[in-house]
Symmetry: C2
């Protein structure tokens, strides 16, 4: 069995998917679709055809799963429902507050078209969500903590770059070690926003820019920085390119919970990620959920799904017998 994959949108995620497909022998990349001029898109592997997104409908019967690599703000709210009416889709929709309505819109398309779409796949939402669910299902009396980092927040980096006088910027979210220790302690402490994460910014200035004003604008920016202890480093473009060109990330889900007659036994469950490249790892997660979408479709189990609905065996290329023999 080979699962035929299409990629819609060729940025970091699309490139990550192209590499991930090359690592999985049961997957085949059929086509990349772009809103740009296809001739300007240069895939990693030269033999991958690139098409205009307007041509996508012609591939309805040639692609098993379409990977939607658009953003959550404007792309996916339109693309998810639209392409779920033609293809089985995987997306990484991450606007938390809008997940219920997005799910419903995608579900409606899927049910009308007998397709399967798995939404909000990645690591958070995605694997972290899965672990949070698993942890609280096992330990009913307890508390779950999520920490992010150390890693690059694209949104926070963008926010800094929009400040006048900033040439380039990268923001690292850093979990506070003492808070993580508290989460593991069994005492179930409550933390303020400021107590859980630090924000560290590396900024390249335009010539003649006012560093005091910029530092102040960053540190007082509502929602993004005002509620955190933030440090700002002004660095040269050379240093920026040498030390801050990667997109590492990671994080921790920790649950501490109690059992026993007197709730006197404590247990800590922990899941963590340490990623050299956020988009490459996210692509690898998306791709293994493409397997699940393919299997749901085969069994006629149509509709929108989330990671919560996927039997873990559906993520693996191995058969149920192999899995029980090798991994159970």
């Amino acid at each position: 069995m080979t699962i035929k994959i299409g990629i819609l949108g060729y940025g970091n995620l699309g490139r990550g998917l192209e590499n991930a497909i090359a690592q999985n022998s049961d997957m085949e990349l059929c086509a990349i679709f772009t809103r740009r001029n296809p001739e300007t898109v240069k895939p990693i592997y030269a033999d991958v055809p690139v098409y205009r997104v307007d041509d996508i409908e012609k591939f309805k019967d040639k692609i098993d799963v379409l990977m939607l690599c658009g953003g959550s703000a404007t792309d996916l709210p339109e693309q998810g429902p639209k392409y779920s009416a033609m293809f089985n889709c995987i997306d990484s929709f991450d606007t938390h507050a809008k997940i219920p309505q997005y799910f419903d819109a995608v579900d409606k398309s899927c049910r009308a078209a007998n397709t399967v779409s798995i939404i909000s796949v990645g690591w958070d939402p995605g694997l972290f969500s899965l672990e949070r669910l698993l942890f609280e299902s096992v330990l009913a009396d307890g508390r779950t903590y999520t920490f992010w980092g150390k890693g690059v927040s694209q949104g926070h980096s963008d926010a800094i770059r929009r400040i006048e006088g900033v040439k380039n910027a990268k923001q690292y979210t850093i979990p506070i070690e003492s808070a993580m220790e508290g989460a593991r302690s069994g005492k179930n402490p409550e933390f303020s926003t400021r107590e859980k994460h630090l924000r560290e910014c590396f900024v390249v200035l335009e010539e003649g820019a006012d560093r005091n004003r910029i530092e102040n604008e960053i540190k007082t920016m509502p929602n993004y920085f005002a509620d955190y202890d933030t440090t700002v480093h002004f660095i040269s473009e050379e240093e920026f390119n040498a030390n801050h060109s990667g997109i590492p990330h990671g994080g921790f889900v920790i649950r501490s919970g109690k059992t026993g007659e007197n709730l006197d036994k404590n247990h800590v469950m922990e899941f963590s990620l340490k990623l050299d490249s956020n988009p490459e790892f996210t692509s690898s997660v998306l791709l293994c959920y493409a397997r699940a979408a393919y299997r749901f479709k085969k069994e006629g189990n149509f509709g929108a799904k989330s990671v919560f609905d996927v039997p873990p065996a559906y993520l693996s290329p191995k058969s149920a017998e192999e899995l029980r023999k090798e991994l159970l």
Copy 2:
């Protein structure tokens, strides 16, 4: 909805289940079944009825899920297939090499009786298996490591207690920190048995026993100790009771894997447990899989299953909508 639970076998796991049921309001403990004289069994909560196992068939329509708390060596190979012909069952069968044949035997009973049994539930096999599957599905090129401990190995403690002159004993399995660091390093090192775990033994001697002979018998015992660096401490009964009466355990599943055109990006996925009480935690895992068995049964999805077959949402008392809203 209340899920009616029966417990077969009232030892550490059975007691753990009794407590776990009290922590989950969608669960109700209907009965404990024992091979002993029911009058000698004293449940934690006085109102729980205890019956002879011979009476169990009368409860066929009164119990939604039967928790099999027997051992893997002799109890479960008989009990699994037998009771799956009457009830939906959960067990913690952990004789790795025999899982395929055990699965087939239970599956046959389930399919004949339209029941659902989930086998080999717990944390290893169980949650660790699930994480191993998830990790290798996401990171196709990589290596998975499992470390156990620090914690009490019941089997190793029993093996020491069978030595002549030993009054009591407890064995702790301890993962070696440098090996764990190696597993996280991205270098994918290979380890010998001796390089991954230490074994530490606390032994209470019978009066007049020969400690040199006993220490030597422990350290050279094939399969159990010969392949490990083992330390043996002889302690008094008082010290044993004061410091070694618990059953803590835990462990780590670590996968390091690479992505990218040149496989130059490394990612580490890690899952860990730190448990004050191995049987109480294991019971909590078993119980949330009872929810899944109940749901499979309701939807007519009969047969033997493993943790690999269970959609995570089936483990939670929350509805799909609540899960997407609160945890995704």
